[in-house]
Symmetry: C2
Subunit: 748 residues, 2 copies
């Protein structure tokens, strides 16, 4: 040892100076080194190959002996023809694929041909399945299946038929097996080691969720609902307003070529561990984050800005296929989405993997409010809207998804439909995922369970609170509208193209005892409401429903109804503005200040002619007009209000087809549109597609002059029989969400 | 209208070609345009200024009349001197700050001087508070406080003393007020408008959580616990092994200059809406995500790689101040952290804002396993560890935090201590946040409540499952160790530097009826365990505890104890390896295959001398040695196992001080270290700091030759009285976590 007192001359560095950095280059990438023994298996694309021979010991002095005398595998038939038993029985025959696709918890068959007749007493073999980069039996990512009843692994195996060298094996994966793409091997045990088929990608197979078997957590008993929510590729998504509903057709395309691979890639991109991929709760939650590009470079870029020049306008899409395949091919987020695009692509994802799913639309949705139960509208002292201070908005409608599954992670009673939402929440704490939240829990106000039930609860149950802002900046609540938000919740009916009102799945009837109890329970869990108790006004303002086509003049009506025994005078303000579907105001185009004089119990109407030119130049996006009427009753000082959104009707595209309506026969679709306006439409995109018959295709028109007509004919060849829909859209900055559709029943 | 049949010549673009992109440049930034009416207020740094005059109407033809005759404000005294009533009564006198810092739900005072005597009957004024970019009364981000009992806003106001022109106002923010930095104004109402003090940053004040008042959700009744978990700046974090515990001293520095601003900036950086900043559940959840840099450019970059050349080694830090201030100053993540650094900085954050918090250490923590309840160890057919197939690891210890709060979002009974964890989970589904999870819910197996209770449950309750891997790749469970994981959970005791065993807060006693019930309940919520029922072996392997200083030779002992009435033979394997504290193996250094012969009910020991040279060159990081012994009992075929981690003891730094032990008197600290090895230590960093007395400072030594001594003297001047600790570390690649500390009680 050196002399302990020989002090080392210290190199003094003052505290504020950075430590001496090593020369050049960026900081080292974070590795798993020292942290985990091996990187976690989270990619279904990287499947490890198993060796063709695995010796039981070290080779002898002359190497391994010849295996010629032992059983060998000549051929493996995956029985993946669409018409064969596997795809038929597993409800996977609609997939456009070169591979076997089956569902878990249900037997499928593969046919193995050996080099000599199979002898059950002597020959030992196993069918082996591996998934991901490091298949392991203890993680259920490697699974051998044995033909003999004496020896069974968790996946059941049996010999269905053995005839000479040909053995048909029946294989039943567990009902909680990992969902994804597996590699298949056949292994034969020899005294010297395991002899195995070489890796052959054509023997890969996909195992999906199985709503048809009771043991699977996604089991859905209702057959019609199951067919709709797993197998139907054509959807209808509702928009417009609750009293003037509009429809958007959508091709989910979950069985299109490449879509299943794209969906698995979404999970790979999220870095989801392979071992978790049998759990639909975890998968739905991760997908709700990955379907939007916020935080994680997910599938869809949201934009509400009106400038979609670097991508496709949200209103222009006709289906999910293009979006998912583009993400899979380019590995880059796809632009652009608004709520229904997120919901539609999420729906494709869920149905593709076998999780029953549907798109729902909530009319008047309290969005972007971080789960508060109130939306504030600020009035000035006279009752007129104070735009500067009103910052909340209510979406005219909002779309999300429901998926069907048991919830083992929750107490019993909360399985069934689960709300999930992939639209990122702008104002929320980095919450770019939402759900799965039990719809039953939302209805019953049980908001303490994961995930995000309180958030969805607020979307359907918020109050609209009108505040009067005083001179000193304080405010007084003058009106609480409790029945505005969550006015109607719709989804497509099963087995038809009608809508189905599912409001009662989310809420007890307005004004019922149960409803009050639920709202009180919600408050216990922190969903506080405004507690003002305001005497009910004896005069009511009404804005009757309006159906207006874009470009038309129309008549606006404000009605005041008095239930008072005395006469009443109402000083009213009515503001008409063009709004985004998010409720955000773009521009005002109408302002009136009528004074309405009412006798006892009288009703009075005031009418205004609204010319098209007053609103046409100001229109944005989905062409919504928003009217807010507020009034002050002179005699009582009470504030009364009415609100109405008018979604202008768009001109239609027409689609016709000609030709033999049969599989593999050439047909022609004709898309037809006449510009009904005097203005020129510029930079117009027309899109058309049809599930199973016509892949997405589009055309670009530099301009369509006012009054002129465009006709586009496109040849196509149906790939499969059965009912389907052709869906077309026309989209340009001046005119959005013009669409048309045509039902088609292709003969075999 | 033009002729409808005049077809427009379409510009045909094939489907595969991209749509014509506009020229040049990157895609437009996503804006809030069309989506929300105004960007959400989520920055406490951007506080909007209120106008000095707000007229009630339009100015007259000659402008506004003179306000000279009305009340005006001459001076506002924030009473922010440390010795004054506000900081004393609000337990904020330790903050090193130029501003007033108070706690919500409790009265504080400001003194206003008017230009003439105040007349309560005639003069109308209000003290106004604003926070964030768009203060609004309806969002509680703007709050006026009135002096008269007749008119009160949610924040109570009263005149404490009025003497001539001087008025002392008492102000009580609600106990759920937003936490952050507010701007203060005094406003006087004149007939023409509101006259207001000009914006003066020196009148800004901070409102914090208040564990001292019952109405605050962070109320903590136990006074000693409250003092420890909010006010104590010195902490002890436990590491080592459960039977040979080591301590790490830490300066949380929550009252240091700038730290409070840094903590608020963390919330700004997360984009947390101002309106949510009164909710400690949401704040703790967001902080658990923001304290690590994964996903969101948060505070700390994790690294377990051993290469810390671009930052500071995790073992080198002495406190949180440097880290938080560096993040605040550079706005870039700070390198590097491992679990205790995340936990320590999170603790500073929580204590700084007034949420009671402590750091806990769990010995043998099942980390990185995505909430599964088993850790798999794979043995070959002979009982020897199969390193290639063993991919799970158990952390020797893991640190997280507990914070104390009511949980309004959960059913009653789950308030109190909540587990939160900022260490990112490598193998989890993008889960770079964890908690708050009710510790009571974890103990009782109520895993269905947010957030992440099942994950923490697994960290303390997992089983270690030994599998025997057969020739054909299948595995058989041969041993389940149920008492290994979650062996001991420690935190610092309140009011002393002792440790406190809090295992019973997380778990019922091993083997109790309650424990079994809880584990069964955990399974109901999806935390499945291995169900193998293996007969208990009648021979047991033991590895007795070892205390070894780094660089020493030592004796390893393997003991076999037989409870059988017959004789037994055990073929044993014992592997010694150097491991990271994460349980990941770096290199093996010992391998023995003893055969132990036991008579009936006999116990046999086998001893080996382990020379220092066998492990010294292979040491990594925290110098942990891991021994796994497995054996096969010949007579019964049973597999028996034993595991032991030995954390080598490090040499110590010595700290001494000289000088008058008084506030504002110069003192000298001497840090002393002798290199006990023959090897040269290179690139050595020595750090020292002390809460309230010495800001973090470090020195760099290019090399310290073997056997030589380094002595560093540093002058310092205590800023405040009371007990504190000086903490020093010495760190270099070859020798980590050398530390020393000295207690100091500074006289006033």
């Amino acid at each position: 040892m050196a002399d302990a007192d020989a002090a080392v001359p210290p190199v003094v560095v003052p505290s504020s100076a950075p430590p001496p950095a090593p020369p050049g280059g960026a900081p080292p990438k974070v590795t798993h080194h020292g942290r985990v023994a091996a990187p976690v298996a989270s990619s279904n694309e990287d499947t490890e190959e198993l060796p063709e021979f695995e010796p039981f010991g070290a080779p002898g002095p002359r190497g391994f002996p010849s295996l010629a005398e032992y059983l060998d595998i000549s051929k493996v038939d995956m029985m993946k023809n669409r018409a064969e038993i596997n795809h038929q029985q597993h409800h996977t025959d609609r997939f456009n694929t070169d591979f076997l696709i089956v569902r878990r918890g249900q037997e499928f068959q593969v046919k193995i041909t050996f080099n000599r007749p199979y002898d059950a007493d002597k020959d030992k073999f196993a069918v082996e399945f591996g998934i991901g980069p490091s298949p392991q039996f203890s993680k259920r990512t490697y699974m051998p299946v044995f033909p003999t009843p004496e020896r069974q692994s968790p996946w059941a195996g049996r010999v269905v038929v053995a005839a000479g060298p040909e053995v048909t094996m029946g294989i039943t994966p567990t009902a909680d097996a990992i969902v994804g793409r597996y590699r298949l091997y056949v292994a034969v045990v020899t005294p010297y080691g395991i002899r195995r088929t070489c890796t052959d990608v054509s023997r890969d197979l996909y195992i999906l969720y199985n709503p048809w078997v009771k043991e699977d957590v996604v089991f859905l008993e209702d057959e019609e609902e199951r067919d709709e929510c797993v197998l139907n590729e054509s959807g209808v998504i509702y928009h417009g307003t609750w009293d003037d509903i509009a429809e958007r057709n959508w091709n989910f395309g979950q069985f299109d070529f490449g879509v299943l691979d794209a969906c698995l890639y979404v999970m790979d991109r999220a870095g989801m561990p392979i071992v978790n991929r049998g759990d639909p709760v975890k998968m739905a939650r991760i997908a709700s984050a990955m379907l939007n590009s916020r935080n994680d470079d997910g599938v869809l870029v949201g934009s509400w800005s009106g400038d979609y020049s670097y991508g496709v306008a949200p209103t222009s899409w006709t289906g999910s296929t293009d979006i998912l395949l583009s993400y899979y091919r380019t590995r880059k987020p796809v632009g652009y989405a608004q709520c229904w695009v997120y919901a539609a692509v999420f729906n494709s994802f869920l149905r593709c993997l076998g999780i029953p799913a549907r798109v729902v639309t909530n009319f008047y949705s309290a969005h972007d409010n971080d789960g508060n139960l109130k939306t504030d509208i600020i009035l000035d002292e006279n009752g007129r809207i104070d735009r500067k201070n009103t910052r909340d908005s209510i979406w005219n409608y909002h779309c999300w998804n429901e998926c069907f599954m048991a919830r083992a992670d929750l107490p019993t009673g909360f399985g069934g439909w689960q709300a999930v939402d992939a639209t990122p929440q702008e104002t929320s704490d980095g919450m770019f995922r939402c759900g799965p939240a039990s719809v039953r829990a939302i209805k019953h106000g049980e908001l303490c369970f994961p995930f995000d039930a309180a958030f969805v609860f607020a979307e359907v149950n918020s109050d609209v609170v009108f505040h009067s802002r005083k001179r000193d900046g304080t405010m007084e609540v003058v009106k609480v509208k409790k029945d505005h938000v969550g006015r109607l919740i719709l989804t497509k009916a099963t087995g038809s193209y009608d809508s189905r009102d599912i409001t009662e799945l989310y809420k007890f009837p307005e004004g019922s005892v149960e409803e009050r109890t639920v709202l009180e329970k919600g408050e216990v869990y922190g969903c506080a409401r405004d507690q003002s108790t305001l005497p009910e006004a004896d005069v009511e303002l009404r804005l009757p429903a309006l159906e207006v086509a874009v470009g038309d003049d129309f008549e606006l009506c404000l009605e005041a109804v008095s239930r008072s025994g005395e006469s009443r005078t109402v000083d009213a303000y009515i503001t008409g503005s063009v709004v985004y579907y998010t409720g955000v105001t773009s521009a005002d185009f109408l302002f009136k200040t009528p004074t309405l004089e009412l006798e006892a119990n009288q009703s009075v109407k005031e009418l205004w002619q609204v010319p098209a030119r007053s609103y046409m130049k100001k229109l944005v996006e989905q062409a919504n007009l928003h009217f807010i009427a507020t009034g002050k009753v002179k005699e009582t000082g009470q504030i009364i209000t009415a609100m109405k959104v008018v979604a202008l009707h768009m001109p239609k595209l027409s689609i016709k087809v000609s030709g033999l309506n049969k599989v593999n026969e050439l047909m022609v679709a004709t898309v037809d549109f006449t510009n009904p306006f005097s203005l020129v439409l510029e930079h117009v995109y027309v899109r058309v597609e049809g599930a199973g018959v016509l892949s997405p295709v589009f055309k670009y028109y530099g301009l369509i002059p006012g009054g002129s007509r465009m006709t586009w004919t496109e040849e196509f060849t149906p790939r499969r029989a059965g009912p389907t829909r052709l869906i077309a859209t026309l989209d340009c900055a001046a005119l959005r969400q013009v669409s048309g559709q045509l039902e088609l029943d292709v003969l075999p």
